[in-house]
């Protein structure tokens, strides 16, 4: 049963690759970097895919901007948070060249816009409508915007994976700051939402998918410190109605060494390429370990 679960998803990914080497979010759509990254990771190391994954990699590399960031697709100008995915993929492929170094430099140059003197002053005087700790630097979806959990955790994974190659103390400092930012945004119910735990004195609930992502970004931290959120994640995984959240939680929990049963009777493959890839990654025989990182750089 477990094998069929994994094989059906990998087969779906093989069949839905676009002729340019990438994947759309849905079959037949333009290639985007996000589903292409996850499909590539899911298929990594499977027999006979090397030429097609090389084609994917070449497509991805063609989307790099002059400043080192990556565009989310060929139709979109300007780099975004998605740059982290390319660095992670480069690390998996064992590539560390000038192009990757420029991407890392770009990531290190980007800071959530709320992490500035004015906002910190406003926070100190309780002038913000949210109870955000803006003293830690995370990463935004797009340069010039505020930091949120998801782009921060993807960047943490990328920086931790590439840390051994990159020369410079700034990377370790930003990883520590990014982790502190994630920890500071934990919701009162024990998990994480997009990154805003309280608005106008009302506590907001956490989401299962962002809880999984936050834990992925916090790999390598003291296990006692993460025990409670990992238990929250495990409960979320049992209860969530979101397939995407379940996939992220599965990957995160496995990366943290939690023992999870193989999926049973869930062989129907979604038309959502990214979901199919994440489900394949999270299978016990899947490539989830490619997203495993060490601790703080």
């Amino acid at each position: 049963m477990g094998d069929l679960y994994l094989e059906s998803r990998l087969d779906f990914l093989r069949k839905t690759q676009n002729s340019d080497g990438g994947w759309g979010y849905f079959p037949g759509k333009h290639s985007w970097l996000e589903p292409t990254t996850y499909a590539t990771l899911a298929l990594h190391g499977t027999p006979g895919v090397e030429p097609t994954l090389d084609k994917s990699w070449n497509l991805i590399r063609s989307w790099q901007t002059a400043e080192g960031s990556y565009r989310p697709s060929g139709q979109v100008q300007g780099g975004t948070w998605i740059t982290a995915h390319v660095v992670t993929l480069a690390s998996v492929r064992g590539v560390y060249d000038d192009s990757v170094r420029r991407s890392v430099d770009w990531m290190l140059s980007v800071v959530g816009a709320e992490h500035n003197y004015l906002m910190r002053t406003a926070a100190a005087f309780h002038l913000l409508k949210t109870k955000l700790d803006v003293s830690h630097a995370g990463w935004p979806w797009r340069e010039g915007n505020a930091a949120w959990i998801e782009p921060t955790t993807h960047t943490l994974v990328a920086l931790k994976k590439i840390a051994g190659k990159y020369q410079g103390a700034e990377l370790a400092q930003r990883v520590r700051e990014g982790e502190a930012m994630v920890l500071s945004r934990r919701c009162s119910d024990g998990g994480w939402n997009c990154g805003n735990p309280n608005v106008l004195n009302f506590d907001l609930p956490s989401y299962p998918e962002t809880t999984g992502l936050a834990l992925l970004g916090l790999q390598g931290r003291n296990s006692a410190e993460l025990n409670d959120p990992l238990n929250v994640a495990q409960k979320f995984r049992e209860e969530t109605k979101s397939s995407l959240a379940k996939a992220w939680l599965t990957i995160a929990l496995r990366c943290h060494g939690r023992n999870l049963a193989a999926p049973q009777g869930e062989n129907k493959v979604s038309s959502d390429v990214m979901l199919a890839a994440l489900e394949a990654l999270g299978h016990p025989d899947g490539n989830y370990a490619l997203l495993r990182t060490g601790g703080p750089a």
Binding site: H30, T121, A122, W141, N145, C194, F202, Y207, S242
Partner: protein, 321 residues
């Protein structure tokens, strides 16, 4: 305290006092476009009523020709909370699909790009959209992850991307929910258009819109997309700490019309909110009508359906006198 430390504090204080002055004496609203706007208030006490007939009534009273057009229905799909009233009810969307087919639309699609949750299809499943709306999956587009094209001139941005499904529609129907909102005061047909912005580019939440400014973004979306029609689901709305954590508030109405500013202003009055104090309506007052004298109220009168929605302290000042 150094001069460098002091200056930002002066800035904050100045902004706060300006906001206060602005609130106490709002400038006069612009006149709005030529002519009056028709807005229909249709009574619908429950989701088990014949909603298609109710909507047809609203369309007749406001006028709408969709023959041969590609219609995109944009519901408000927000959260995995099927037991609450966060999302536009599935029966409203199913009725709208049937309505626009009956009216002769060439194509009726449904599209949504939720602001916080990425798993749009499962979200739709949980909200009973798949179970209630025939052939749902074949007519639904996740606008967060659709292919996109750039447009120029949106909110002074050099380039801004929108889903091709949105740009290809002849008519966008905002199937909004009547709710209070902890940032904007109220979320209705105009604020619902936030879901047209693709998360794959702008994130979850669509933080770029926050930096443009929520009221301004709401107004700019209405300014850019003029091919719109509104059907607001006020059968059961949400009061208090909306748009997610509030409580159900039956208002027993559908509010419909071409002029989204006039529809939302009417909804506000039904909810006991002064639309002239809602910032995004003020910013959009050149696009449509806020003033009651410029809105031709059809169907029920506001007075006959008006029911005060509870407001959080932050927005208590919006209460209609």
């Amino acid at each position: 305290m150094t001069r460098r430390q002091f200056i930002p504090l002066v800035g904050i204080a100045a902004t706060a006092s300006y906001a206060s002055i602005k609130f106490q004496k709002p400038p006069k609203l612009p006149d709005g476009p030529v002519g009056n706007s028709a807005v229909a208030i249709i009574r619908a006490r429950s989701y088990s009523e014949d909603l298609v007939s109710r909507m047809l009534d609203g369309v007749r009273q406001t006028g709408l020709d969709v023959r041969g057009k590609r219609v995109l229905l944009k519901p408000n799909l927000v959260e995995f909370e099927s037991s609450t009233v966060i999302n536009t009810d599935a029966t409203i969307i199913a009725a709208a699909v049937e309505l626009f087919h009956r009216l002769g639309a060439a194509e009726v699609r449904i599209g949504e790009g939720p602001g916080h949750r990425r798993d749009t299809l499962d979200l739709a499943d949980d909200a009973r959209y798949r179970a209630t709306i025939p052939k749902f999956e074949s007519i639904f587009t996740d606008l967060n992850r659709d292919d996109v094209s750039p447009i120029k001139g949106f909110a002074d941005e050099k380039e801004f991307y929108f889903p091709n499904t949105v740009l290809g529609a002849d008519l966008i129907v905002s199937l909004a929910k009547m709710k209070t909102h902890h940032w904007a005061g109220a979320t209705l047909s105009m604020k619902n258009l936030f879901g047209l912005v693709p998360g794959a580019i702008y994130g979850w939440p669509k933080n770029k819109l926050h930096y443009i400014g929520i009221p301004r973004s709401v107004a700019e979306l209405s300014r850019h997309f003029r091919n719109t029609y509104a059907i607001v689901d006020g059968v059961v709305g949400m009061e208090g700490n909306g748009p997610i954590q509030g409580t159900p508030k039956p208002a027993g109405v559908l509010v419909m019309g071409h002029d989204l500013v006039a529809v939302d202003s009417t909804c506000c009055r039904i909810m006991g909110i002064d639309p002239e104090k809602v910032e995004y309506l003020r910013l959009a007052a050149d696009l449509g009508h806020v003033h009651p004298g410029r809105i031709d109220q059809r169907g029920e009168t506001i007075a006959s359906v008006q029911t005060n929605f509870a407001l959080i302290d932050e927005f208590a000042s919006l209460r209609l006198a």
